[in-house]
């Protein structure tokens, strides 16, 4: 792997950037692998990377039906935070945030992590009490979190309407200063490059069409590029998790919904951090290019279409303008949707399945990007050792039988 540095940048600039090597190979699939990872998004690529790095398993293929990071990895609003309520989630997301903090150096790839702070607004007394409870829970778990008064909020984000007469009055907010945003494509590409350098085969345009199971044990996967034998199969496919589970003969407590987002035309720096509002379903930050990146709530109906309905966007824009009247003449450039796989308790499923040597990592719903490195890290452990790590033991499929749910609807921030 050619290391990126100021010197390689200068050297290549002198050659008009014509000689940069490819960041990863594009090999043809081999007949068999120790581990086949299905899904080449951030979580799948991170899984492959940590399988190779932490567990020495390098005979690995990542199969991606489209292009790397073309699903939810490239469609989210890039927000990273770890201010979740319950101990199980707080530990998992905090582990992920800590990995993010060192990821650019570790991968030798600039993921443009910007810890500009994430603010969650409270619009009524109940919101404020819930946020206070969550902030206290976070602090007990060693996660930085604090409550801001409307005056402190106004000082940080002057364009936010905190006047008492506002349609959505702002009574306070929680703030996680270590939260922020990162370049989502770079996270996928950085993990892909790191995994490839350790010998992982990354195979794009290769769709899994069937999972071969014999005697309760997985044998391999049928793909659009032929059959591939596998010692273990690790499925990380977000919105299509139910489809893959059906191939293997079991059901998931997951429903797929569209989640929409959009960006505005670029403007000069005006919005310093990330502002989220549970109550009105809007979250907004400003990218380095100057575009406002704005996310909505999910569409109510299930879908695999990667698009949603306009009323959801209209509702979101209405809420945005009530909070930020200054954006009223801003034009929107692009709007899109992704398919999110939502669990009944708004927490993911990471672990073993009824089929031996088949593992699923799904159900991240509306908030998977922030968990990308941590998700890959614990999933790689689960696959390599055939047992979950302490960090993801609570996120098993069995919790929907035992009833030990991890209810994170409050912290998930997008109502579903």
């Amino acid at each position: 792997m050619a290391r990126y540095s100021i010197f390689s940048l200068l050297r290549n600039a002198a050659r008009y950037h014509r000689d940069w090597p490819a960041a990863w190979r594009s090999p043809d699939p081999r007949a068999a692998y120790d581990v086949v990872v299905v899904g080449g998004g951030g979580h799948g690529l991170a899984t492959a990377y940590y399988l190779a790095k932490e567990h020495g398993i390098t005979n690995v293929a990542v199969l991606e039906k489209g292009w790397l990071g073309g699903g939810n990895t490239g469609r989210n609003t890039t927000i990273i935070r770890s201010n979740y309520l319950w101990d199980e989630s707080a530990h998992l997301y905090e582990h992920s945030l800590r990995l993010y903090e060192g990821l650019s150096q570790e991968l030798n790839y600039n993921i443009m992590l910007s810890q500009r702070g994430v603010m969650n607004l409270a619009h009524n007394l109940h919101d404020l009490r819930e946020l206070s409870r969550r902030v206290n829970a976070n602090r007990l778990n060693g996660i930085d979190s604090e409550i801001l008064t409307p005056e402190q909020i106004k000082a940080m984000v002057p364009i936010l309407d905190v006047s008492p007469g506002a349609r959505y009055p702002v009574l306070g907010a929680s703030l996680q200063r270590r939260g922020g945003v990162a370049r989502h494509d770079a996270v996928a590409w950085g993990f892909a490059r790191g995994a490839d350098a350790r010998g992982v085969d990354i195979i794009q345009n290769c769709e899994v069409t069937g999972i071969r199971v014999s005697d309760g044990r997985v044998e391999g996967v049928e793909t659009s590029r032929g059959y591939i034998r596998a010692g273990k199969v690790a499925v990380v496919v977000a919105g299509h998790a139910s489809v893959l589970a059906e191939m293997a003969g079991f059901r998931l407590p997951v429903e797929s919904h569209p989640l929409q987002a959009l960006v505005s035309e670029p403007v000069k720096p005006i919005h310093p951090n990330v502002v989220m509002s549970n109550a009105v379903h809007v979250y907004v930050s400003q990218s380095d290019k100057g575009e406002l990146v704005i996310g909505a709530g999910i569409d109510a109906y299930t879908s695999y279409a990667q698009r949603g309905s306009l009323p959801v966007v209209e509702h979101q824009m209405g809420a945005l303008l009530e909070l930020f009247p200054v954006f009223s003449r801003l034009r929107m450039l692009r709007q899109w949707g992704g398919i999110v796989d939502v669990c009944p308790d708004a927490s993911p499923i990471i672990g073993k399945t009824p089929v031996r040597n088949l593992y699923f990592n799904c159900g991240w719903g509306t908030g998977g990007f922030k968990a990308t490195p941590g998700s890959g890290w614990v999933f790689a452990h689960t696959v390599a050792r055939d047992e979950p790590h302490a960090l993801n033991a609570a996120f098993s499929l069995e919790r929907f039988t035992t009833g030990a749910l991890v209810d994170e609807h409050g912290a998930a921030a997008v109502a579903h």
């Binding site: 059901r251 429903e255 009833g403």
Partner: protein, 96 residues
């Protein structure tokens, strides 16, 4: 935006309706007779079909009545609408 044909009020905008999730999930006649796995299956497991999906809608801002819809979850095309208690039309049985 979906244009949904309410069996009582005719075609109306999606915004007038509420979504009720997967249809034909029958509450167990004797919940006490179920083990944890069967109860979990009833409460949480979902078909989440890619393709013709049978689902419930309610005309919240119209007649406020529930009904069933068969909708393609890839194209969003509404394949059939039928009343609660009626057998699903053929379109809804595809892929079973």
């Amino acid at each position: 935006m979906l244009l949904i044909e309410c069996p009582w009020c005719g075609p109306r905008d999606e915004q007038e309706f509420g979504y009720g999730g997967e249809a034909h999930i029958v509450r167990p006649a004797d919940p006490h007779a179920l083990d944890d796995a069967a109860w979990g299956e009833y409460l949480f497991m979902r078909t989440n079909r890619k393709g013709a999906h049978r689902e419930r809608w309610v005309h919240s801002e119209g007649c406020r009545r529930w009904f069933n819809v068969v909708r393609d979850t890839v194209s969003h095309e509404i394949l059939a609408v039928y009343r609660v208690g009626e057998a699903p039309p053929a379109a809804g049985r595809r892929g079973e």
